[in-house]
Amino acid sequence: MSILEIIIFTLVKIVFILIVMLLTVSYLVYFERRVSAWVQNRLGPNRVGWEGILQPFADVFKLLLKEDIVPVKANQFIHTLAPVIALFVAFATYAVIPIASPLKIFGYEIPLVVADINIGVLYVLALTSVGVYAITLAGWSSGSKYSLFGGIRSSAQMISYEISMGFSVAGVILFAESLRPLAIVNAQGSWMWNAWMQPIGFITFVVSAFAETNRLPFDLPEAEPELVGGYHTEYSSMKFAAFFLAEYANIIIAAGMIVTLYLGGYNVPFFNIESLGLANWLTVLIQIGSFFVKMGALLFFFLWIRWTLPRFRYDQLMSIGWKVMFPLSLINLIWVAVLIMIFNL
C-alpha cells in the first residue's frame, strides 16, 4: 500500500468512527434518561419524534442557542481549553480499539482499527490520564470554589484508580504477551476470555473504569448535593455540552476497553466464526455485530449501575481505591503468573 492509500483508508476509518461515536454518545444520553425513568417507574422523554427518538438533537440545538457565559474571575484561556482537551482525549482514545478482524476488499487487507499501534493499551492508559487535566483545569480555571473542589477530587480519584486499573491490565498483557489490542483480542479467541481466566482482575478493572469515567458510585467530582455541578458548574452552552459529550464518550471507551481486554473483543462467544468458512465480508460483519452487541450490553450495565447504587462517601472512595482495589489487582497479577507457570500458557 502506498502512503496515499494509507492516508485515505485512515481518513475514511476516522470519519466512520467519529460518526458512530457521536451518534452513540447522543443516544447514550437519551437512553440514560429513558433507563433512569424506567427504573423510577416513569416514562422519560417520549415527545420529540417517535418515543422521543429525536430528543438528543433537540437537546443539542437548545445548548447551541444558549448564551456562553465565562465568569469574570475565570482564566479565559484555560477555561476554554479545558473542554477542548476533554473532547480531544475522549475521541482520540477510540483510535486503538479494533471492531473486527481485517477486511479484505479490492485486493487490500484493511485492519478495522484506526491505528493498529503496538502499544495500544499504553496509549489508552496515557490518554485517559491526560483526561484528568481537562477536569482539573476546568475546576481550577473557573474561579469558583465548587468547581475547584470537583477538580481536586477528580484528580485524586483518577490517580488512585489508575493504579489498580494499570495492574489489572498487566494481567491481561501477561496472557497476551503483547500491548497490541488486536493481539490481545486474538489471544482470547472465542471462549478463553480474560473475564473467565482472571475474574478478580475483571472486577477491579470494571470498578476502576467506573471511577475513571466518573460514573455514579464514584461520581464525586460532580456530586450535585455538595458541589452544585462539580467541575462544570461555571460552564454553559456548547462548552458544557463538550464536557457532557466527553463524559459519555469516555463511558463508550471504557466499555470498548472492557470488551477488548476482557470479553474477547469482536470474537463471537463460544463459537469460532472463522471455522464456518464464510466470505470475508460476512465474517467481518458478524464480528462487528458481536462487538457492538457486547458494547451495548456493557453500556446498559453502566446506566443500570448508575440508577441502582448510591454515591460513595469521599473517604470510602479513597479507602476502597487504595486498600481494596489495589491489593486485589496485585492478587490478580500473582494469580495470572501462577496460571502461566502451571499451564505453560
Binding site: W38, Q40, W307, T308
Partner: protein, 164 residues
C-alpha cells in the same frame, strides 16, 4: 466523639459488596420492566368516576329546556360567589326559568355546594376537567356553555340519588 458501634455488623457476604449489588440490580431491573402508570395525556385521557367533581353544568331536558327554575339557591350558597342567576317567566308549564345563568370559572372552587342545594337536580358537577381560557371574559361561562343534555350526565345523577 468515639466511634459508635453499628447496630448490626455486616457479615462477610455483605462486606464484599458484590452479592448486595446484584440484589440491588435485580430490584431495579424488576422496576424497569414493570408496567408504568403514567398516562400519555393528550392521547390518552383520564375518565373520572361518577364521584368526580368537574366543572358544574346545567342539566338540559330532552326537549331542550333547562331543569333550572332560577330559585337562586345555588347562587346564595356558593362560597366563592361565582354564580349569577336572573329569573324570568315563560308561557310553559314550568313558568320560571333563568334568563341569565353565569358561572365565573375563575371563582369556582368545585365544592359542589350548588349541586347539593339544588332542589330540582338542575345543576350537577360534570366530568369535564379541561378548563383552559386565555382571558378573563372567556372564563365566565354563560348558558350556552353550561347547558348539557341529561343523557350525558346520567351516571352523576344516579350517583347523587344514591349518596346525596
Amino acid at each position: 466523639m468515639g466511634v459508635r458501634k453499628r447496630e448490626k455488623d455486616l457479615n462477610f457476604w455483605e462486606k464484599i459488596y458484590i452479592p448486595e449489588i446484584v440484589k440491588g440490580l435485580s430490584l431495579t431491573l424488576k422496576n424497569m420492566i414493570r408496567p408504568k402508570f403514567t398516562m400519555k395525556y393528550p392521547e390518552e385521557k383520564f375518565i373520572p368516576p361518577a364521584s368526580y367533581r368537574g366543572r358544574p353544568v346545567l342539566v338540559m331536558e330532552k326537549n331542550g329546556v333547562e331543569r333550572c327554575v332560577a330559585c337562586g339557591l345555588c347562587s346564595r350558597v356558593c362560597p366563592a360567589l361565582a354564580i349569577e342567576v336572573q329569573a324570568s317567566e315563560t308561557e310553559r308549564e314550568k313558568e320560571r326559568y333563568p334568563e341569565k345563568f353565569e358561572i365565573n370559572m375563575l371563582r369556582c372552587i368545585f365544592c359542589g355546594f350548588c349541586e347539593e342545594v339544588c332542589p330540582e337536580e338542575a345543576i350537577v358537577m360534570s366530568k369535564d376537567y379541561e378548563l383552559a381560557f386565555t382571558n378573563r371574559e372567556d372564563a365566565i361561562y354563560g348558558k350556552d356553555k353550561l347547558l348539557v343534555p341529561v343523557s350525558q350526565l346520567q351516571d352523576r345523577i344516579e350517583f347523587l340519588r344514591q349518596y346525596k
